[in-house]
């Protein structure tokens, strides 16, 4: 199943996260990740939702039905910058320290805590690079892993591609004629 990256601009009100997640759930789709935080405008949050599905057009349209959703874009096929952070607590006996440190250097990961037999490392990058780093350190023994989920931003001046859509005057859009 294809992963779709959906970016949504929403009003920052109680329950909005629940509404968005509930709507995706209603169609039986799995949310691979969901990241939310304040946007550049006060009172407005930006969400990045990664949904596993072959068909998300209807989800995007239905999201517009939520009162607090201001704008939604499926940016899967748009040129974007995508980032994710992972924090790992690794099992690192003193003998393995050197190798971990050098691996962190290669991946530009940061060592943020060192214990007698553990290390906590943080690493930020494109989702594929994050996956790659996790696989490389996995043989050493991952005690705990936390990931922030993906955030995505469309490159260039435009927020998202709007060519194939007709604006209806309210920020909503419908497909144009063939």
């Amino acid at each position: 199943m294809k992963q779709h990256t959906i970016v949504a601009l929403v009003q920052d009100r109680p329950g909005v996260l629940s509404r968005v997640a509930g709507l995706v759930r209603r169609r039986g789709y799995n949310i691979a990740s969901l990241a939310v935080g304040h946007s550049e405008q006060p009172g407005i949050s930006r969400m990045t939702i990664v949904v596993e599905s072959d068909y998300v057009e209807q989800v995007v349209k239905q999201l517009y039905r939520l009162i607090e959703v201001i704008k939604v874009s499926d940016v899967t096929d748009d040129p974007t910058v995508e980032r994710e952070m992972v924090v790992l607590k690794l099992h690192v006996p003193p003998s393995a320290r050197h190798e971990i440190v050098s691996m962190c250097g290669v991946f530009e990961a940061k060592i943020v805590d060192v214990g007698t037999s553990t290390m906590i490392v943080e690493m930020t990058g494109a989702p594929a690079k994050v996956e790659n780093f996790i696989e490389v350190v996995r043989p050493h023994g991952i005690k705990e892993m936390m990931r922030t989920g993906r955030i995505a931003m469309v490159r260039g001046a435009r927020g998202h591609n709007a060519e194939q859509y007709v604006e209806t005057g309210n920020g909503m859009s419908v497909p144009t004629l063939n």
Binding site: K61, Q62, I67, G169, N170, G171, V174
Partner: protein, 580 residues
């Protein structure tokens, strides 16, 4: 200058400011402060005490559908509001403007499993257009304003406000002048002109054009515009179950109802048309049958106020987002000259002739009634509809409220719907059995001058008939109930007969003597067992100055035809000849 008011007083003031004058509900612990305040406002805010919150919700829906105005229902925390869930879901499916006001436990015990606590905002999130939990009386004036705006604008729907008990008791100075802050909610009313011109171009080039009119036409008050538009282009008009009343069935361009129990000629016309213009309908699966086989030759123009409906079930060539009335007005403004429409008119006339021929060959409504009457039955259900139809046409000034099941489809098929919009009220999308009696209560409150006829089955009637007591307590006299009593959950039985080899699992149904039950509620009760008594009973119901119930003990195993089996093409219909 606003003064300090309790939260509950602010709620009453807010409702009055928004034009609300009647509410349907039941009090309880958490909502008591609202009822305390309501007493001061009782000359301006009428409260109708129902017998069950589901009844209150459906009554509010009936009021809303009979008027186009907001319906308001009230329940207390816990079971009070969970009983409102069904009408809320029903209002969501049928786009009914409904406000549910719910009492919640005190904010200091919220989330602690307090007495009668239920997370009703969580429960109703997927079945409301929007909902709110209010814990501060300072928020009430704004929230009520926003909630009612959302419920009644764009595509209308149910909005729920859950208010903690302390928020109703504490005082605040209401600010009535706060501007709405809804950057994500700006319904599109004016259609895009470019799309309008594309639609006209497509229609003008059609050889077999067809209009499907849905609920949106009625909600937008666009029936006049629809008639003008259909007449100017000479387009045949199909009306969906919720489109009944949007176009008079006696009009020479009217075809009737499509879909699962629609007429053969309507479904054939859909399957053969080359341009299909759906105004204010949502291509429900009971209309389309198997969607991939629906209208295979048609280019579709779909006009709806809700963009998420467009392209949801059926592929659309020309999408139009807008209000049905403004859309039809724009279409009328963009109409080409009569000369340019000459081809369309000629084609449409041949097409209409072809459809009328189909209709004649596949039995019109009257023939269906006559056929059933000729069978050896002491009381065929069709006879009830025939008498009711004639009487309603003669007397006028009525609303028919139906429940869900066989009787509902017969009403849609066999009554002649010529009395205009909002004269047919039913539960379509959710198909909620038990809808009709309380919905009729709401309609009767809205229209004390009209006769409200309930047509329901013995199954649905037994779900909510407790509201007969509410009707008496409110002094309502203009409700007449016709129970089409066949001793079965008839529609399910029909499916069992046709598709499950008559395995009547869970469908035979007994009941009390409904006429005696009616008498016990201080109604007049009449029992009819023979076709010869039908007309006299209906006449007596009309002549009686008070609510009347007629128990029509009809032939038990009669099927609704034509019928499209579930998930089949609407081109494959079972008719009376092939099915019975």
């Amino acid at each position: 200058m606003s003064q300090q008011l309790t939260g509950a007083q602010i709620m009453c003031e807010a409702l009055i400011r928004e034009g609300v004058d009647v509410m349907f509900g039941i009090p309880g612990g958490a909502i008591m402060p609202f009822y305390f305040a309501m007493w001061e406002y009782r000359d301006r805010l009428r409260h109708v005490l129902c017998r069950h919150e589901q009844g209150a919700g459906h009554a509010a829906e009936g009021y809303a559908r009979a008027t186009g105005r907001l319906g308001v229902c009230i329940g207390t925390s816990g079971p009070g509001v969970t009983n409102l869930v069904t009408p809320i879901a029903d209002a969501m499916m049928d786009s009914t403007p409904l406000l549910a006001i719910c009492g919640q436990v005190g904010s200091h015990v919220l989330g602690k499993d307090a007495f009668q606590e239920t997370d009703i905002t969580g429960i109703t999130m997927p079945i409301t257009k929007h909902n709110y939990l209010v814990k501060d009386p300072n928020d009430l004036a704004y929230v009520f304003k926003e909630a009612i705006y959302i419920a009644t604008t764009g595509r209308p729907g149910p909005v729920l406000i859950d208010i903690t008990k302390d928020a109703m008791q504490k005082s605040a100075i209401p600010n009535w002048d706060v501007k709405l802050n809804l950057p994500g909610y700006k319904p599109t009313y004016q259609p895009n002109r470019k799309q309008i011109r594309e639609a006209i171009k497509l229609l003008a080039s059609a050889k077999k054009p067809l209009i499907i009119a849905g609920n949106g036409v009625i909600m937008a008050g666009a029936h006049e515009e629809l008639r003008h538009f259909a007449e100017r282009l000479r387009l045949p008009v199909i009306t969906t179950l919720h489109g009944i009343g949007a176009f008079p069935e006696e009009h020479p361009l009217s075809l009737g109802m499509p879909g699962m129990h629609g007429w053969v000629h309507c479904n054939r016309a859909i399957q053969e048309c080359d341009v299909l213009f759906n105004i204010g309908g949502r291509f429900d699966d009971r209309v389309t049958g198997k969607a991939s086989t629906f209208a295979p030759n048609a280019k579709v123009i779909h006009a709806d106020i809700d963009p998420s409906e467009i392209g949801k079930n059926v592929k659309v060539t020309v999408p139009i987002v807008g209000d049905a009335r403004l859309t039809l007005q724009a279409l009328l403004e963009e109409l080409p000259s009569r000369e340019e429409l000459a081809d369309l008119h000629a084609n449409a006339s041949d097409w209409m002739e072809y459809i009328r021929d189909l209709q004649d060959r596949h039995q019109g409504k009257q023939q269906y009634i006559n056929r059933a009457s000729t069978l050896n039955m002491s009381l065929p259900p069709h006879d009830v509809y025939a008498s009711l139809n004639q009487t309603l046409a003669e007397r006028g000034n009525y609303i028919v409220v139906t429940d869900v099941g066989q009787h509902q489809m017969w009403a849609a098929q066999l009554l002649d719907w010529n009395a205009g919009p909002r004269t047919h009220i039913t539960s379509g999308g959710a198909a909620t059995m038990g809808f009709s009696v309380p919905a009729a209560l709401g309609a009767a409150v809205a229209h004390p001058d009209k006769t409200i006829w309930v047509v329901c089955g013995d199954g649905g009637f037994q779900m909510t008939n407790q509201e007969m007591a509410t009707i008496v307590q409110e002094g309502i006299k203009n409700i007449k109930i016709a129970v089409i009593n066949n001793g079965y959950l008839g529609m399910v039985r029909q499916w069992q007969e046709l598709f499950e080899n008559k395995r009547y699992s869970g469908t035979p149904l007994s009941g009390p003597d409904f006429a005696k039950l009616a008498e016990a509620y201080h109604w007049k009760g009449i029992t009819v067992e023979h076709a010869s008594e039908v007309q006299a009973a209906i006449d007596e119901a009309h002549a009686t100055d008070g609510p009347v119930l007629i128990d029509f003990r009809v032939e038990r195993e009669v099927n609704v035809f034509p019928m499209v089996p579930q998930n089949s093409s609407i081109g494959d219909m079972i008719t009376e000849e092939s099915g019975a």
